[in-house]
């Protein structure tokens, strides 16, 4: 009895100390996470733009009403979904697959490959994107020359509404999946070898081992990496901005580039902020729902 009371007393003291210890972290997080969000929300409720630069004022939901009644919003949201989902469903599984292949016991030269697939990271992303932009050019681009050699007609990779988004996803895939390979490698390596061997001895082949052992073991990590891949892509500004600039028309505008376009090209800061707020709210809802179904946050415990 006495012991347990002691324990309770100790525990209480610890809690107070604990809060003091984590306080700096909480402050930094609040500043990093919430300050920009509050600022965006605040601007989205004003008429802050190049005309009212010095004396802008509160306009209520006017910006949102404008946004929700414009036809652009739904196109842009559609584009954002296609871009994020399209990229995620190819690059995350590809990264996982490559990580599995690279971790085969019999695989030789693992270190060389690992170094190699880290290579794309060493270049600044915008240079790689410019290279891709040249490769996908209608005339003189490697992609079309290759198609021509094979006897196909040239494609409007970046300049037709039909192919532009596909091209963006392709480039994003190329740029991103080594990252996912890398992230999955540590997850795959965390599985003790005996768990594979126990399956092997019991007659499980590679496919069944994947289905019955590897995937269930990594369920949470996969959910986590996929969801974060999705969020990261959602906000991945570089590729659409540099490759197509959202065009042709607004066929490759995503929320984040469109927000930028409104704010900095049209100097309509409050409208840009409204788009940013919509983007954040959608992501937030998505994360809450995704976490509810996958319990992915548990891997952080």
């Amino acid at each position: 009895m006495v012991e347990s009371e002691d324990y309770v007393v100790k525990k209480k003291k610890l809690e107070w100390k604990g809060i003091i210890y984590v306080l700096p972290a909480i402050i930094v997080l609040a500043f990093l996470d919430f300050y920009p969000i509050f600022e965006s929300v605040y601007y989205s409720l004003t008429d802050f733009n190049s005309v009212h630069f010095f004396k802008y004022g509160y306009v209520g939901l006017a910006n949102f009403i404008y946004v929700f009644t414009s036809s652009d919003l739904w196109t842009v949201i559609g584009n954002t979904l296609v871009w994020s989902i399209g990229s995620t469903v190819v690059m995350v599984p590809a990264g996982f697959l490559l990580a599995l292949i690279m971790n085969q016991k019999k695989m030789r030269g693992k270190t060389i490959y690992r170094t190699m697939y880290l290579f794309p990271w060493a270049f600044p992303a915008f240079i790689t994107i410019l290279v891709w932009s040249n490769m996908l050019a209608y005339t003189g681009g490697v992609a079309n020359e290759f198609l021509n050699v094979l006897g196909f007609k040239s494609l409007d990779w970046l300049t037709s509404p039909k192919y532009a988004m596909i091209s963006l996803i392709l480039v994003n895939f190329w740029l991103s999946f080594p990252y996912y390979t890398f992230v999955y490698t540590s997850a795959v390596q965390s599985i003790p070898q005996e768990l594979y061997e126990a399956a092997e001895i019991n007659g499980y082949g590679p496919i069944r081992t994947l289905a019955h052992v590897t995937l269930p073991l990594l369920r949470r990590q996969i959910a986590f990496i996929t969801i974060f891949g999705f969020i990261f892509t959602w906000n991945n500004f570089y590729i659409p901005f540099l490759l197509t600039g959202g065009g042709p028309g607004i066929s490759t505008e995503i929320l984040i580039t469109y927000s930028y376009l409104q704010a900095f090209s049209y100097s309509n800061y409050s409208l840009g902020a409204a788009y940013a707020v919509i983007s954040i709210v959608m992501l937030f809802v998505f994360v809450v729902v995704a976490n509810h179904y996958t319990k992915m946050m548990k891997i952080l415990d």
């Binding site: 092997e200 001895i201 007659g203 269930p216």
Partner: protein
């Protein structure tokens, strides 16, 4: 009948020597133990039998069929891993059923077999828990159940008890032996623990540096070790080994250990030159007397049911005496370790091979004669 045969099986790793040509014959229904110190190649041998490790040269036969290059799944072998290798996301039931799920077996039969084995292993109440929610000993039993449920042709175990505490280990030893007799499945069991070897094995082999040093009934290994390695590996505390000299005078053979000389009545040799030997005496056979090797008591270890006394000789050699009661000596006391011809082992100095053991191994005359120190 020979169930499992290994012929000159070799495995060489890049830098390390894995297994250097081992020959084994395990009989049907036998509990066979591979014993040896860490790194001697026990696990490697077992993994080659299982097919988890390729064989560099040599042959492996199971049920008179060569399986050297078969993949694991064609061997019908079950294995229990040292750290159990249970699937954390599966319940105990799902873990046990795992090997059956891949066989073309009706669901009802699978479930029946699982219930059956769980009952035998005392796991019936735990079937719906996950490995994270049961104790080490229970995990061990789940791992055994998973290995047994398939009714394998051969059962392999790699130090399955090493993660358990001493008491549970003792309990599981008894349990394992009972199970093996009940299922009558031929078992190859790897351990570095000699108590496991002596309590479990029908036959055992002792490995060192990738080779089999000696094979046989565990008691025989203890009684008649082929060399100083076996002699000192088996037995706790280890056998005392002292340098000695064998010589002949007026037709009688004498053994000189430090300042003390005893007559070896059983050795009749014509050898001309004195010969250095290693003398082995088991701690439990060390006697104190009025005559013998002068020693001084250095350290006493009381283990409750037995007492170890560490003596130091004049030349700085240590002799351990094991007894159930204290000899009433205090530290620093001088006494004599008397040596009896009948309790001695003589080993060759360089190779460590056994030369002589009273009543069990006759010295080779030729060998003693030719020796030149």
């Amino acid at each position: 009948m020979e169930k499992l045969v290994l012929q000159d099986v070799v495995k060489v790793f890049k830098k390390n020597v894995g297994v250097l040509g081992i020959n084994l014959e395990v009989r049907e229904g036998e509990f066979f133990v591979i014993l040896g110190p860490s790194g001697c190649g026990k696990t490697t041998s077992l993994r080659m039998i299982a097919g988890l490790e390729t064989v560099d040269s040599g042959h492996i036969f199971l049920d008179e069929r060569e399986i050297t290059n078969f993949p694991p799944k064609l061997r019908n072998i079950s294995m229990v891993f040292q750290n159990y290798a249970l699937y954390p996301f599966m319940t105990v039931r799902e873990n046990i059923i795992f090997p059956l799920k891949i066989l073309k077996m009706p669901k009802s039969e699978m479930e029946e077999k699982t219930e059956q084995i769980a009952k035998t292993m005392g796991l019936s109440d735990l079937l719906d828990r996950r490995p994270g929610e049961i104790s080490g000993g229970q995990k061990q039993r789940v791992a055994l159940a998973r290995a047994l449920v398939r009714e394998p042709s051969l059962f392999l175990m790699d130090e399955p008890l090493s993660n358990l505490d001493a008491k549970l280990r003792g309990h599981m030893r008894v349990e394992l032996k009972r199970l093996q007799k009940e299922f009558n499945t031929t078992t190859v069991y790897v351990t570095h623990d000699q108590i496991e070897a002596t309590t479990l094995a029908d036959r055992a082999c002792l490995m060192n540096n990738g080779r089999i040093v000696q094979m046989g009934n565990p008691n025989d290994l203890y009684d008649l070790p082929v060399d100083t390695f076996t002699a000192t590996f088996l037995g706790d505390p280890a056998m005392n080994i002292l340098p000695g000299e064998l010589y002949v005078e007026k037709g009688n053979t004498y053994l000189k250990i430090e300042d003390y000389t005893i007559k070896m009545n059983d050795i009749k040799t014509e050898m001309e030159h004195p010969r250095d030997v290693k003398v082995g005496i088991r701690p439990e056979e060390v006697q104190l007397g009025d005559d013998g090797i002068p020693v001084e008591l250095n350290l006493v270890q009381n283990l409750g049911k037995s007492i170890y006394e560490y003596f130091k000789t004049k030349n700085g050699e240590t002799i351990i005496r094991q007894d159930v009661v204290n000899s009433r000596h205090v530290l620093g006391d001088r006494s004599m370790v008397s040596v009896d011809e009948k309790s001695l082992y003589l080993f060759e100095t360089n190779t460590g091979g056994l030369i002589y053991r009273y009543g069990k191994k006759k010295y080779q005359e030729e060998y003693l004669q030719n020796a030149i120190n």
